[in-house]
Subunit: 397 residues, 2 copies
Amino acid sequence: MSSIPKIVILGAGYGGILTAQRLQKELNYNEADVTLVNRHDYHYITTHLHMPAAGTDTVEHARVPISKLIDEFKIDLVKSSVKEIRLQDRKIILEDGTLSYDYLIIGLGGEPETFGIPGMLDHAMTIRSINSVRMIREHIEYQFAMYKNDNKRNRIRFVVGGAGFSGVEFVAELADRIPQLCKEFDVNPKNVHIYNVEAAPSALPGFDPELVEHAMNVLKKKGVTFKIGVPIKQCLPDGVIVGEGEKLDAATVVWTGGIRGNALLEQAGLEVMRGRVKVDEFLRAPGHEHVYVIGDNSLVFNNEGRPYPPTAQIAMQQGVNCAKNVVAAIRKKQPQPFVFTSKGTVASLGKGEAIAVVGGKKYKGWKAAQLKKLVDLRYLFIIGGIPLVLKKGRFFG
Amino acid sequence: MSSIPKIVILGAGYGGILTAQRLQKELNYNEADVTLVNRHDYHYITTHLHMPAAGTDTVEHARVPISKLIDEFKIDLVKSSVKEIRLQDRKIILEDGTLSYDYLIIGLGGEPETFGIPGMLDHAMTIRSINSVRMIREHIEYQFAMYKNDNKRNRIRFVVGGAGFSGVEFVAELADRIPQLCKEFDVNPKNVHIYNVEAAPSALPGFDPELVEHAMNVLKKKGVTFKIGVPIKQCLPDGVIVGEGEKLDAATVVWTGGIRGNALLEQAGLEVMRGRVKVDEFLRAPGHEHVYVIGDNSLVFNNEGRPYPPTAQIAMQQGVNCAKNVVAAIRKKQPQPFVFTSKGTVASLGKGEAIAVVGGKKYKGWKAAQLKKLVDLRYLFIIGGIPLVLKKGRFFG
């Protein structure tokens, strides 16, 4: 190890940004070199992407320049893609260079988990980045434009695969967008069909059943057709095959059914389950005490031995804990075990509607929608303070 | 002929609308039944379509509900597509019904003339209706979105086939739109290429050479690459082959190279040249004294024996003349020969730029751009008076 330890953070998502910000705050002058590597020069707010994907909000409300979030005098920002993680050499191979590290924090984004459904990777779109959601939005608009020229019914039929949080939040925005699109393109709304297909026996698996029922009723009223307990067997360029062979026509298929870890971790020789590394209590990769894994790539179990789902909430808490533990390691202090504290769950159901469980209490309708907004604003406040809240916050509508 | 003659007008373009409006004004109560047939319930302003096609203006500035333009107490409006014109039976077969007539005015829109260039009909888009321009706009935006996901360079390369008025006006708007799209999708403008390809030895064939040069300089400065005197040999899904075999990569090809008459006229047994009927001096189809052909489907020759190009200007004048002649025929009066009077020519070159020849005088730059706006406003005034000018007129920008 050199006299000044080098810390490299891969990915400026929820986990990576929180780690970087906390390190920036905790570390003394010349105590360590910190480099944050990210493919884009902006951080995006994944929990907000369902809106620009449907076109109900602009992407600019869902991203922030990283330079506004970190102090570039204290942290070096490298805009590049990671090609390889060489644990033995303590080196990161970038698209256009290399970096060596003493401490590594892997906060890279996950990848879509399609469970081997044939055609899904080829023909479905996923909500996972600014670029991908702009594509979904444009794809949907293009289908409306094409429908007015070729009259093919699959142009205005939509399948959302997965009725977990991402699926339900997106399908709600899509249902809100359809009337606008119908007006803009002179399409009869009665001809538009939106299917939300979920293999599990319930939508929003694991969520309070009363709220799930409320959510489904809200979405049905917005025109969504649910296919629950119905697996997608195959994804085609013009639709999906579900259940016992029924074909749902749809030129637009959006897959929200799952996330797995980034392939780079397995390629680095780390032991993974669905691409994720089961980290130790200090968030370190087993056998690599200088390598921390947070966010979508880390696997943390609760007291009942079940893994926490990958959420923004857990990634943020991991970022804070990880920064503390790296600083402790540099100072040769004791690290702190990571303990996840749930602050509750909120799912938006489009304009003015949401469901939430916070502090053991259930919320729905307008109140839950306000809670959703509070969660969003709180996050903006955490990473960027009042100026960011004022700049990116959505207070109305 | 029944006691009250039935007049059927096919198409509510420039010619059809002007005919309908003049008939409505000229005819006395119960002198004739007039029916206007149109595929859409709106009239569109073809000379304005290059803007919504590029996305520099909304389609709403380019269309007007037909019900605002005609008096539905005096004229019946039938929203339907014409499937067949049966001249012997004096019947029109519509998609969903039939109409019989005593006098027929064929003002249907033309079709793209691709001169048999292989692949052009399949892979190129054309600027010819509200539906087609919405598709072009969405196609372009979709390519930008896709480029950010697959990085294929043809996504942000554009070929406009034809550098006549339509081609040049569209290419200018496209060049104006590119910087906005680059900003919205985080694309480096340097990577975008726009080609305007013309087989003839000059852009804007037949126009004043000094103004043509000015136009080309304006467009080159906006980033357009001209290929003049270079024929397109083939159109592919991902570009065009030009000249001696050079491939121009482009996921977007817009063909503006020509218009031919509507295929329904030839199918009706009328003698046509490039789908157009060489009408007599009263705008009637030869051998069918109750059938008038105006606009894109009519062929009228000037004193030098050369056909007038199909323009909004000639279609409007034909509409006025045609209405007079139909009224004269009903009243057993002498018809008036059609004489085209050129009011000049204006071509817009995007924001703040245009070229014009009016009354033998040349104009360019800001002055010509104002002339272009005046022409647009004058048309709105002719068909809809002050209220339409205020509602649809573009006075600024």
